[in-house]
């Protein structure tokens, strides 16, 4: 296999891997802090994606004016739709805002997702700390169905496109950069943005946990919740905030993913199943493991969908993630970086 083809698959795997890693990071954060298995996490990713759609729609709300000088083909005066933002901020800024609706949606998504996260934790998850894990799985599974259906009721069942800003449309020719022929190693700009964004978020979460006092307390709580409580620290409040942060991470992952894959209401469940596999492969409760496993599985998936590989092993592209998950779980029962004693019985 040529080096360029190899690199191309690595690059292709990165963006899916980033999405897996971001969702798995949030999942394992919730699990590590609250000890709750959250099956509604995929739904949070989906709500994030629909935040982007909402912002796009809000920005393109238009005022209709009649232009008497021109007529349409029926002879009626031509209707001209001008978005309000263009009226308010002038044409160029207005169009720019609409063009950049997906990145702008992050600003909208963060408070929304934090609120949803807090509401979920205080309203529902709180009552399930002491119930068995299967109960937690079931109630969040039910919640995921409910959230999905609400989104479906408002946005319909079809995929809704939300394009990336026009500055990022097109592809970047990596090959030329490192001495290959032009056109052998091209990669869409937006996927680069997505990967960098994911790295930024992951780094931010780790830095937050590692270098702030708040993060230190949270880590202490993850290690021994009871002792931290005995020291007079209200650990529950901090864990609620962590739940909100995890929801916001999933939401931002969803917002930025919309240009790659137009969302519909099932996108969360599709990602959730794989993300759970990712979390378990990485080791329940291990943040580094979740990120590592996310990228490994994303890249493996893209390698398995190469033509040469499929010809050698038919169907491998469909099953590689699950196959790897089974092998890892049988060989390393706690996952790649899992700690001892987590979810053992």
């Amino acid at each position: 296999m040529e080096l360029s083809a190899f690199l191309l698959q690595v690059l292709n795997g990165l963006d899916k891997g980033s999405a897996y890693a971001l969702i798995a990071l949030g999942l394992t954060l919730i699990f590590g802090t609250l000890g709750v298995v959250n099956f509604a996490h995929g739904a949070l990713f989906m709500i994030g994606a629909f935040c982007a759609i909402t912002v796009q729609r809000l920005l393109s709300i238009s005022v209709v004016t009649l232009d008497e000088t021109k007529t349409d083909f029926l002879g009626n005066p031509l209707k001209i739709r001008t978005p309000y933002v263009e009226q308010w901020f002038g044409e160029s800024i207005g169009q720019g805002l609409i063009d950049w609706s997906v990145p702008l949606a992050i600003l909208f998504a963060i408070p929304v997702m934090l609120l949803i996260g807090f509401a979920m934790e205080r309203g529902l998850i709180k009552h399930f700390y002491k119930r068995p894990h299967s109960d937690q799985i079931l109630v969040t599974f039910g919640l995921a169905i409910v959230l999905q259906e609400i989104i479906k009721a408002y946005f319909g069942a079809n995929q809704i496109p939300a394009p990336a800003p026009s500055a990022f449309i097109g592809s970047f020719d990596f090959g030329v950069f490192i001495g290959f022929d032009p056109g052998t190693l091209i990669y869409p700009y937006w996927r680069i943005v997505y990967f960098l964004f994911a790295m930024f978020i992951i780094a931010a979460v780790f830095a937050f946990l590692q270098f702030t006092t708040f993060g230190m307390v949270v880590r202490a709580g993850m290690a021994d919740r009871e002792t931290v409580g005995l020291l007079g620290i209200d650990i529950d409040k901090r864990f609620t905030i962590m739940f909100g942060i995890a929801a916001a991470v999933a939401g931002m992952a969803g917002v930025m993913y919309t240009p790659i894959n137009p969302p519909n209401y099932t996108i969360g469940m599709d990602f959730l199943v794989i993300s759970f596999v990712v979390v378990v492969v990485g080791g329940m409760g291990s943040l580094g493991g979740a990120v590592l496993a996310g990228f490994i599985l994303g890249i493996l998936e893209s390698f398995a969908s190469m033509r040469e590989v499929i010809e050698a092993i038919p169907g491998i592209n469909q099953v590689v993630i699950y196959l790897v998950a089974i092998l890892i779980l049988l060989a390393r029962p706690r996952g790649l970086l899992g700690r001892k004693g987590v979810m053992e019985s």
Binding site: V37, L124, H127, R131, H133, S134, D135, I137, L138, V139, F141, G142, L143, A144, I145, V146, Q148, E149, I150, K152, A153, M269, V273, F276, V277, V280, M284, P314, G315, Q318, V319, I321, Y322, L323, A325, I326, L329, L330, P333, M343, E344, S345
Partner: protein, 387 residues
């Protein structure tokens, strides 16, 4: 009687009466009345009630007794379906071999998957079963197309060999039958405005349901069932007494896999068609919903849960705005519109929303499911009276 305690025998009798009279009980509204569309007594739906009831009973033997939450049980239903269709194609259009072989095939398949998955417990077990089921689904839809018919599914055809029947060459594709009695055959009885449909396929399913329900009662009450309950309450302590839980959980896994295969076999016996979507994880999730809704670890619960979900899916989903307006037309216009507007998202295409809400409420407030809730209610009433 039949080796059952008095209470269990009464329960079996109750279920017997219920399934035998289902075509009458499920058709409470006269034909042509406003509520006729709430009648669930048509063969297709009744068959589905019973078949998914069998599936859920089997799932409950694993989850209810041992506490191992499998998210991949639909794979066995799918495997059973494929095996059943192949029997109908190759051997004979009689459904008996198809049903038997689909149970056996699902049993072997679940032995293989269970042997590997049961090395782990808790969420790891759930993920392993999920991974196996998703793999089966993906393979059935793509690479295994010669065996499974790919995404379009597998069905009987006119030029199938059907060794025992001697392969027809002309006429219609033969319908699955029980020694010549076609599954789709029904007798319609009209009593006044009511029309009751007695369907051959339904009664075959109901007969099978009674048998497997009886087996399930015996398993629940047997020493083996006690062992499974011990695994659920504390498998570590069980191993300290020198007993390995593995063989018991594996046996429970295979039994519940065979129940799923049997359900798959009955499904193709009613309608000789099998597609990969039967193996998808959403189908596995559905059987989890059924068991939880009805009541995990209870005997009747899963059947009840299966009935409720299938009723929602088929009847509740057909309520549309026109009907709502018709029902509330006695109210003043403004109020009517408000009420219809409130109910609208929960019915028709939004039936999943009501289902999800109901499911959440059950998990939050009734950990024993609907049956557990009803039992608790009775116990409370009874206790009060005795005081």
């Amino acid at each position: 009687m039949l080796g059952l305690s008095r209470n269990d025998f009464l329960m079996l009798l109750f279920v017997l009466v219920l399934v035998a009279a289902a075509p009458i009980i499920l058709n409470p509204f006269p034909e042509g009345s406003n509520f006729a569309q709430f009648n669930a007594g048509y063969p297709d739906l009744m068959q589905r009630f019973v078949i998914f009831g069998i599936f859920a009973i089997g799932f409950n033997i694993l989850f209810g007794l041992t506490g191992y939450l499998s998210f991949g049980h639909a794979a066995f239903l799918g495997a059973g379906s494929y095996a059943g269709v192949w029997m109908l194609k190759l051997l004979t259009i009689n459904v008996i071999p198809a049903i038997i072989i689909s149970t056996v095939v699902a049993g072997i398949f679940s032995l293989f998957i269970g042997f590997i998955s049961l090395r782990r417990s808790g969420i790891y077990f759930s993920i392993l079963t999920l991974a196996f089921a998703q793999m089966s689904f993906a393979l059935a839809a793509s690479v295994l197309t010669p065996i499974t018919g790919g995404e379009t599914g597998l069905q009987t055809a006119l030029n199938d060999p059907r060794v025992l029947d001697g392969g027809a060459t002309g006429g219609n594709i033969p319908a699955p039958s029980l020694f010549g009695l076609e599954m789709g055959h029904s007798w319609k009885v009209a009593v006044g405005d009511w029309i009751w449909t007695f369907n051959v396929g339904y009664y075959l399913c109901a007969f099978v349901l009674l048998i497997v329900f009886y087996i399930a009662i015996r398993i629940f009450r047997s020493p083996f069932g006690m062992m499974l309950k011990a695994i659920k309450s504390n498998s570590q302590r069980l191993s300290y007494t020198g007993i390995s839980p593995r063989p018991y959980t594996l046996a429970a896994f295979v039994i519940s896999g065979m129940y799923a295969g049997l359900a798959g076999g009955l499904m193709v016996a009613m309608d000789p068609l099998a597609g990969p979507e039967r193996m998808q994880w959403t189908a596995s999730g559905e059987v989890v919903l059924m068991s939880i809704l009805g009541g995990v670890g209870t005997l009747v619960g899963p059947v009840l849960g299966a009935g409720i979900i299938k009723y929602f899916e088929n009847i509740f989903s057909k309520i549309n705005d026109g009907l709502l307006h018709q029902w509330f037309s006695f109210m003043p216009d403004g109020i009517e519109n408000v009420i219809v507007g409130i109910i609208h998202p929960f019915v028709g295409k939004g039936w999943h929303l009501s289902l999800g809400l109901m499911f959440m409420l059950v998990v939050i407030f009734l950990p024993g499911g609907l049956v557990g809730g009803i039992n608790g209610l009775f116990r409370r009433l009874f206790r009060r009276r005795s005081q």
